[in-house]
Amino acid sequence: MLRGALPLLGLPLAGAETTEEPTREPGSPGEPPPGLALFRWQWHEVEAPYLVALWILVASLAKIVFHLSRKVTSLVPESCLLILLGLVLGGIVLAVAKKAEYQLEPGTFFLFLLPPIVLDSGYFMPSRLFFDNLGAILTYAVVGTLWNAFTTGAALWGLQQAGLVASRVRAGLLDFLLFGSLISAVDPVAVLAVFEEVHVNETLFIIVFGESLLNDAVTVVLYKVCNSFVEMGSARVQATDYLKGVASLFVVSLGGAAVGLVFAFLLALTTRFTKRVRIIEPLLVFLLAYAAYLTAEMASLSAILAVTMCGLGCKKYVEANISHKSRTTVKYTMKTLASCAETVIFMLLGISAVDSSKWAWDSGLVLGTLFFILFFRALGVVLQTWVLNQFRLVPLDKIDQVVMSYGGLRGAVAFALVILLDRNKVPAKDYFVATTIVVVFFTVIVQGLTIKPLVKWLKVKRSEHHKPTLNQELHEHTFDHILAAVEDVVGHHGYHYWRDRWEQFDKKYLSQLLMRRSAYRIRDQIWDVYYRLNIRDAISFVDQGGHVLSSTGLSLPSMPSRNSVAETSVTNLLRESGSGACLDLQVIDTVRSGRDREDAVMHHLLCGGLYKPRRRYKASCSRHFISKDAQERQDKEVFQQNMKRRLESFKSTKHNICLTKSKPRPRKAGRKKKDGVASAEATNGKPPRDLSFQDTAAVILTVESEEEEESDSSETEKEDDEGIIFVARATSEVLQEGKVSGSLEVCPSPRIIPPSPTCAEKELPWKSGQGDQAVYVSSETTKIVPVDMQMGWDQSLSSLESLASPPCTQAPPLPRLPVWPLAAAAAAAEEPTLDLLSDPRPSFAFPPSLAKAGRSRSESSADIPQQQELQPLMGPKDPTRLSPGTANSHWCIQLSRGGLL
């Protein structure tokens, strides 16, 4: 396919004139050397793809250079810079080669450069906004384009009749109408390039941009009809031809849209079944969209419309079906291709303008065209807006109209169309080419440069970005339903009514058919927002995590299993684990023995210092599946270790502050709020009134040993109901016996103690329930990590990794078989004081053993060896190695929500 394309790109290399890369002289030997050549230069075999790659490279490098200076790009749109660069490059080529090379060829443009841009814009079109304004968009696209074409063409013809256009321009009314039809269409590429940098409000943007996309059908029809009329000669055009012309407008536009929708349907349906071949998902998106484009092009339908509709139609279902990684891939590839194509288009436009052999100048025609397209555009916009405002809820005001008129940029589509004209049939082609180039340059450069100041000066409403909130999303849905209901009551079947109908149809049939069952659920919009908010919270929590989180959150690999995370939310976990349990760190803090601590210290040291051995059991060489086991886990582990270290160093500096601060919590909360993070969830059992959030339930506190960390890899697979990790730990520098009591007094536990149990006298679960589990408690609770944060963290990690497989209904929890590492059990046995703490309440049941859970999973078979490997690390207790006082001890307390179950 590429080879076929290359002649179209117009990159014939005549000799040695590759000016961009003079070192790449095609030194190909004319005749084969007599003997075996050690070195052969085969330029011609790679020439075409090489040049394509080089052009793209040059364009990309130019982009980089432009963006080196923020000042330049903030003033001058990129498209202008690229056109100017193209002019320069074209000049160089012309000067060196003595003839113009590397034109923007219509074939290349329509087959290769345009589709990615249109697909990108269609796929990422804000569909709700688009359909909300569909009426206006269609009006401007159809009526506006027709109006522009006919008035411009007719006015130019009038200009010629008035003698203002030189008689050299041999063109009749039909020729001018043809020219008018190709010059009148607002160009999506140019509009997108300019408007993306000018952040006008969404409504305005979608109207201008939607118009530029949808007017393609009209342009194509007008162009084709006029072209065939011109070729037939005006004398032979009959009345039926005019009728056919009108009919073809419908055929081309509706046909194009239909082709797009059919392919969108196919695409959505195909991606439903890619569960086992995730790797080709992005490819499918591109292939089918491109197939839609080519099919429409083949049938002489509106290809732009087809791809737009394809992207618009399939997005919802495709996004639901494909994996998260594929989604990212699709997004980036699409953006890359579109940006690449756009860059090349503008550069080639600049280069093409240099070729003086192609165009002929006529001042009357050029100036007349410039004036008419601006004038009629403005007039058309005003007239249409006046009509539209009679029907619009929110009228478009004058400023909007100014921007819309001024934003009618012409671009490469017009240029490619004018190049396509047949010089024999249209004798004035050269004049038209020159005029088109001037118009394109004028609109892109002059209007593109001035539209930003204009928008600023007119104080056009800018788009405002605000993060979606659950409330907004939910209430928006409510409003939709309310409006639909009110329309029902009033008996007026308007927009809301039909949208409601469509949504019900979509829910009942389309989504069922086109979405994977597992994906169907998470695509509910409210759920989706919720999900995204959770992820965002988690990510921003990580960003600031270093301040509030102790390392266990990072190093404890207690991420819930990948298929359950996405659906268990922070609050969900909280709620389940909550209900009246006690979080009393003081109590726990008081109970510890030296021996116990030494063990923990040891384990911590070991697990902190040792990387898990790299496992090589499964060598995965499949090209079709991205295996995500060993390597990834290793990476994650390294990451965790690094984070842990960083946090430790941070904490050691922070520690004292925390000790003296009696109210660390509100402060944290305040920061959270400010950052828009996790504003919702807090963990406090009894939040003070001044906190803006509250959580209802206290949390169960279960204390677990450091061995947690050892069972790293198995835990990544465990069921998520293993619990929330709550951390209380000491820093190495300050772990001294003397300080213990101090910290106990100051540490923030009072805030989190539920009223009833200050339960030093209560039993702790690990003794009562599956009593063989070890407890290590911190002597100094320097920080308490709010459960929500902990969970946020867990979710972030695991949701990131789980996105590959969309969450499905969680499997019932595995039978809990508490198997605890030997050392821990022994330690627990040696720890008599723990009995004091044991809480008899059933809600304090201990979480299932992580190790066992890990093992019982079939997929974690690879972990078993590691588990066994690790056991010895936990086993030996060597109290002599580290003296308790100076040891760097970490204590993990695991908050388990499993306790409730």
């Binding site: 907004q472 209430h475 009551v489 659920r521 409210i526 659906e567 939310s569 609050t571």
Partner: protein, 196 residues
């Protein structure tokens, strides 16, 4: 206009209704026809049944609640004035400068706050001026559909309440409700064009 006026005269209390709701005579007339059409047995008022007959309302997840909102205070009869009064919430906001309005006059029914209040009382079933978590959950249950499990719904509800809840009482008061939507163009979103 004269012809319309004479038609509109059929409506009882047309002037006071117009003053209260701000509807144009043409709109009022159209609504009156609709009112009569909905009133099956020509009893002069609408009952719940009449509204429930509307096919599309039956499938609207909030349909029942919206019907209920037409019958404030547990009444069973909806006269035309009440009918129009509810619909007036969805009249597009006039262009006029709010400062020009007589401050002594009550806020028009289609003001932002009244639009919001209408939405709010759809949530607030027990009319205590607060959307509790439970009430939020009920709405979510209606809207989200079967595919999300109950637990997830609860967590969404919880989070939604927490997000809007500023004073920490575990429920969303009307002010908090309005605040959570302060960035949204309610005047635009909660208006229907035909109800001029």
């Amino acid at each position: 206009m004269g012809a319309r006026g004479s038609h509109a005269a059929v409506i009882p209390d047309v002037d006071s209704i117009r003053r209260e709701t701000g509807f144009s005579q043409a709109s009022l007339l159209r609504l009156y026809h609709r009112f009569r059409a909905l009133d099956r047995n020509k009893k002069g008022y609408l009952s719940r049944m009449d509204l429930q007959q509307i096919g599309a309302l039956a499938v609207n997840p909030l349909g029942d609640r919206i019907i209920d909102s037409f019958f404030p205070d547990g009444s069973q009869r909806l006269d035309f004035a009440g009918f129009v009064r509810i619909l007036a919430h969805f009249r597009p906001v006039d262009e006029e400068d709010p400062g020009m309005r007589d401050p002594k006059q009550p806020e028009p029914l289609n003001s932002r706050m009244n639009k919001l209040r209408f939405a709010f009382q759809l949530y607030d079933l027990d009319r205590d001026g607060k959307i509790s978590k439970h009430e939020m959950l009920q709405v979510l249950r209606l809207m989200v559909g079967v595919q999300v499990t109950e637990e997830q719904l609860e967590s969404i509800a919880e989070r939604t309440v927490q997000e809007a809840d500023e004073d920490g009482d575990g429920a969303v008061s009307f002010l908090e409700f309005a605040k959570s939507l302060e960035k949204m163009n309610i005047e635009q979103k909660m208006s229907i064009r035909v109800l001029k």
